[in-house]
């Protein structure tokens, strides 16, 4: 039987009737039309379905929507702020960090959470933070470079008093 639930996604409230056995991945994509969240295994083995729950990266393929009604959910669609891209989105695009782009939404969300916790990560810290996101195209190098460049931009922007990361302000 379907249950009526409320989800807060990217700052918007959605009322949806869901079957209890539908995962957050399925509801985001199939009920809310937020197809930016991808999937490559549905078993927790690839990281393509990564979303943020209250700013923390988790796998939407192993999350039950019924359990996260009190959380703020951020998907790739929520990183833009009034049409302005998140600095990570800019650098991913500019520096070739997305090839086929299929791992990219998950990578970006892991990276957003990383920079929020650790604005100046080392290469090693970046690798650790992305160790749950598989990419088959890039060999990861360009992804690290994009994150480092975004960290740089964010810190410059921060000095300029720009609020850099609104997608994550609860």
């Amino acid at each position: 039987m379907r249950e009526l639930i409320t989800l807060r996604v990217n700052g918007e409230r959605y009322e949806v009737a869901v079957l209890p056995h539908r995962t957050l991945l399925e509801v985001l994509r199939e009920d809310l039309g937020l197809t930016g969240t991808k999937h490559g295994c549905e078993l927790g083995e690839c990281g393509a379905c990564t979303v943020l729950l209250d700013g923390v990266p988790v796998l939407s393929c192993l999350t039950l929507p019924l359990e996260v009604q009190d959380c703020e959910i951020t998907t790739i669609e929520g990183l833009e702020e009034q049409g302005r891209l998140h600095p990570l989105q800019e650098t991913f695009a500019e520096l070739g960090a997305a090839q086929c782009g299929y791992c990219t939404p998950g990578m970006l969300l892991s990276a957003v959470a990383l920079l929020r916790q650790n604005p100046h990560p080392t290469r090693e810290e970046i690798k650790q933070a992305l160790s749950g996101n598989l990419c088959r195209c890039t060999g990861y190098t360009k992804i690290y470079e994009a994150i480092e460049a975004a960290a740089e931009r964010l810190s410059v922007a921060h000095q300029g008093e720009r609020r850099p990361d609104a997608a994550l302000q609860p």
Partner: protein
């Protein structure tokens, strides 16, 4: 050598767009989640489709009962083999698949029935309700087994047991070559198969639009995650019996392919048929396990190689045999078989070369093309084998290679035309950048230090070279038509729309088209709108395989753009009162080269041209030149209008107590000619190096009890961020004469040298040879224990590749051929190459304006 240079009016540099590290044209759609992939498409009233697959590796189907499934509420259609009996297959010579099994299943995962239902839960239930009765047959799970049991036939059609294809060639005089050698060595190698593992699993969505007035009954659209919409278009149309005019195949964004999305697939055909039957859109999304079962991945290949050399390392002859485990169906396997032999002489100049290859059927998921198609296996064998020869002779492995490098602008012993080639520069670059000489000189000191610190890790460096094609010289089905075509339409407002069948699977082919057209027309790439990979809207491009798109679609795009540019320049010349040859295009203007202030905006020029000539549409096309290969049967696999070259040095640390190999760094030099976009090229090199690293150390598609042992991406290992080595990319080389702006391929070639470089580095570190890929820690430890056992210990023997013993002669007729044959041909145009007739606006000789074809485009 000048006869090789096709002097062509290439646009003079410096370039405004080409060579710049611009973002991909789809970069912003992918980083924002806007890019639409096949599974992202949802249509009203869409049904969920799925396949019932065989649980047995080899069985006869006695009966199928679908009644219970059909009666389940929410099930709209159930189909089985008899509903789609037409055979198909990617190669015309291997039409051995049916969309759903007829009579027999040949591997665990072979599709048996398909269902369309209103929701995923009903679909799953329905698939469980289909009753299939099987008679289980004996199972053949490897090359040796398949050869040993010709009586157990996997395909009735094969003439000789389970041998799908066998070939045999002798180029030059092999006996004389070995007779002239001072030293001859033989080795066996084995390369385990592996899967592409694109992060996006295959998915497709089919829609039927009925039309009672149409004798066909309606039109079908298929969106699919495919690399080859054109071939899917052909095969689906054939199996469904719908004329191509009534079928439209669209590749939306594709989440990685690497060769795994190059065949027409059962799920695509079934989605179409289910859509036609139900009149509703049907989506089929494969699970990760199904991706492993669909497979078409790297063939497991056992190889034997024998090489004769002079004392100084000069190769006098090479004899190479490959045995391919093809799995249950043909797929691209015939081409793969040829590719295991064709490119050896393109890396090293071989004065005599014998190649024998065979592919056998087994009860495993079918193998096909994966990045490097059929060439990483022999590359691994040859490069490790040469390292062994260098060690045997006491020659530096670099010197040995240098003695034998192919030369630019030469013809190989098997008739392949080589043009630009910076192989030696690749080699020199990786050697210099990696500090190879210093590293090897410091060996003793380094080992002493490791012992002093009681560290279990020993370091080693290894090296390997390779080459790859820039597009297959021949299409998959025989025809005289272009391999790539591009259409460009100019809009009054100054907009430029480029139409091309090329399919971007992440490598950036769509972007490359935009850069090329922008450069040629002198506009910003952002102005260009691209329509790609849509069999209704876009002219044919054969697909994203064999690294062909930049080269072929790029040349076609240049041709189309030049045709338009000529029209624009003619009206601009008139308006500016200048001779057309004083004009150039750039930055959105057509200007006088002598005084750039004298200029006309692109928009103005377009409007003048449209007023003069009518609608502005032009087409360009490309087919590789004809004279690039020998004239023997089978010469069609291997030729390419150009070859890319790569060299790799690997630095590894081997833990002598655990056998674990850590690759610390890879240096990869790649001859890409002119990089159209260095950022994309570096990305391809890094991605290839990464994938080669995974194949070298961990990836393996293995079977147990007739089943894929580990069909998940937890158990099938692909490298994570914490495993992948640091990769240093070095781009070398000069623009190729025939490549678009001089560009060559980068998507596959750089993978090839990585695997043998790592194998050679392991040997350099700890003195053991693992002649089998992947080099897993258990194999390394076993070899170490065997090599260093204490007296009294009885370690297991080191891992060794068991030779294949053939009881009879090689099962293929030997074809003998030498390059002299080419010279003897009467055709006067065939000195070494033939200049195709130069169409007046053709960009250069290579873009053939094939005479059979009416010229498309131009002015309307």
């Amino acid at each position: 050598m000048d006869e090789w240079r096709r002097l062509q009016p290439r646009k003079a540099g410096p370039y405004k767009v080409v060579g710049k590290p611009l973002p991909k044209v789809d970069a912003y759609s992918t980083v924002t989640g806007r890019a639409i992939y096949a599974d992202d498409i949802m249509l009203p009233r869409m049904l969920y489709g799925g396949l019932l697959r065989s649980p047995h590796p080899h069985a006869r189907i006695i009966s199928i009962n679908t009644r219970k499934a059909r009666e389940l509420p929410g099930v709209l259609a159930v189909i089985t083999g008899e509903d789609l009996p037409r055979k198909y297959g990617i190669l015309p010579s291997s039409q051995d698949e049916t969309a759903l099994a007829v009579d027999k299943v040949r591997y665990v995962g072979d599709p048996v029935a398909a269902v369309a239902a209103t929701d995923p839960d009903t679909l799953e239930q329905a698939l469980r309700l289909i009753e299939v009765e099987y008679e289980v047959l004996p199972v053949l799970m490897g090359i040796e087994e398949a050869l040993a049991h010709p009586d157990i036939k996997i395909h009735e059609e094969t003439r000789n047991g389970n041998i799908h294809k066998a070939v045999s060639y002798e180029f030059g005089d092999i006996e004389a070559g070995f007779a002239a050698a001072d030293y001859v060595r033989e080795d066996w190698f084995y390369y385990e198969g592996n899967n592409h593992v694109p992060i996006e699993a295959h998915a497709c969505l089919a829609r039927w639009e009925p039309d009672p007035h149409d004798p066909i009954g309606g039109k079908l659209t298929l969106w699919s995650s495919t690399q080859t919409p054109h071939y899917v278009h052909r095969e689906v149309s054939k199996v469904l019996g719908i004329p191509p005019s009534h079928l439209r195949v669209i590749a939306p964004h594709v989440g990685g392919g690497f060769g795994g999305k190059s065949d027409p697939f059962s799920h695509e055909i079934c989605a179409c048929e289910l859509a036609r039957r139900t009149g509703r859109p049907v989506k089929i999304t494969c699970t990760r396990e199904e991706v492993f079962l669909i497979h078409r991945g790297r063939h497991p290949v056992k190889m034997w190689i024998k090489t004769g050399v002079k004392r100084d390392g000069t190769i006098t002859a090479m004899h190479f045999r490959s045995f391919l485990d093809g799995g249950a169906y043909g797929s691209y396997g015939v081409a793969t078989t040829y590719y295991t032999g064709a490119l050896q002489p393109v890396t090293y100049a071989l004065p005599a070369y014998k190649f024998e290859g065979m592919r056998v059927f087994t009860n495993k998921p079918p193998c096909g093309p994966k990045r490097g198609h059929g060439t990483p296996q022999p590359r691994f064998a040859v490069e490790v084998h040469l390292d062994k020869i260098a060690a045997d002779l006491g020659i530096d492995p670099i010197e040995l290679r240098k003695r034998n490098l192919v030369r630019p602008y030469s013809r190989t012993i098997n008739g392949l035309r080589i043009t630009s080639c910076a192989l030696e520069e690749c080699l020199d670059q990786v050697v210099a950048r990696s500090g190879w000489r210093e590293f090897h000189a410091a060996r003793l000191a380094r080992e002493a230090e490791a012992v002093r610190q009681s560290s279990p890790v020993r370091h080693g460096m290894g090296l390997a070279l390779s080459t790859y094609i820039c597009g297959a010289g021949k299409p998959i089905y025989w025809n005289d038509m272009p391999h790539s075509a591009v259409q460009i339409r100019l809009d009054r407002g100054g907009g430029v729309t480029v139409y091309c069948g090329a399919t971007d699977i992440g490598q950036g082919s769509t972007s490359v088209l935009a850069y090329i057209v922008a450069e040629e027309l002198g506009v910003e790439p952002e102005r260009i709108h691209l329509e790609t990979a849509d069999t209704t809207l876009t002219p044919v491009d054969l697909g994203s395989y064999s690294s062909r798109v930049t080269f072929m679609a790029g040349n076609a795009a240049i041709q189309a753009a030049r045709r338009l540019k000529e029209l624009l320049h003619s009206v601009a010349a008139e308006r500016l009162r200048l001779p057309p040859d004083r004009l150039e295009s750039g930055d959105g203007f057509i200007y006088c080269v002598d005084d750039p202030q004298v200029a006309l905006s692109f928009e103005q020029a377009v409007q003048l041209a449209e007023a003069r000539y009518g609608a502005l549409v032009a087409a360009g096309s490309y087919a590789p030149p004809e004279d690039i290969h020998g004239d023997f049967k089978g010469a069609g696999v291997g030729p390419s209008p150009a070859y890319s070259y790569s060299a790799c040095v690997a630095l590894v640390g081997v833990d002598i107590e655990t056998g674990e190999v850590k690759v610390e760094k890879l240096w990869l030099a790649h001859d890409v000619g002119q990089a159209i976009n260095p950022l994309l090229v570096a990305g391809q090199v890094e991605g290839s190096a990464y994938m080669g690293y995974g194949e070298a150390l961990m990836e393996q598609q293995i079977f147990r009890k007739g089943r894929h042992k580990i069909p998940s991406i937890l158990d099938y290992k692909i490298p994570t961020t914490l495993d992948t080595p640091e990769i240093e990319t070095i781009l070398v080389g000069q623009p190729d004469d025939e490549g678009p702006f001089g560009g060559k391929e980068a998507g596959q070639g750089p993978l090839l040298p990585v695997i043998p470089a790592i194998a050679n580095a392991v040997y350099n570190a700890v003195g053991i040879r693992i002649d089998e890929v992947p080099i897993t820690p258990d194999k390394v430890l076993r070899a170490l224990k065997a090599a260093h056992s204490e007296p009294g210990e009885r370690p297991l023997p080191p891992p060794r590749v068991t030779p294949i013993v053939l009881n009879e002669l090689w099962p293929a007729r030997l074809i003998r051929w030498s390059p002299e044959h080419l010279e003897q041909r009467p055709d006067p145009t065939n000195g070494h190459h033939q200049h195709p007739r130069q169409g007046e606006s053709a960009p250069h000789g290579a873009a053939s304006t094939s005479s059979q074809l009416p010229q498309k485009g131009g002015t309307a």
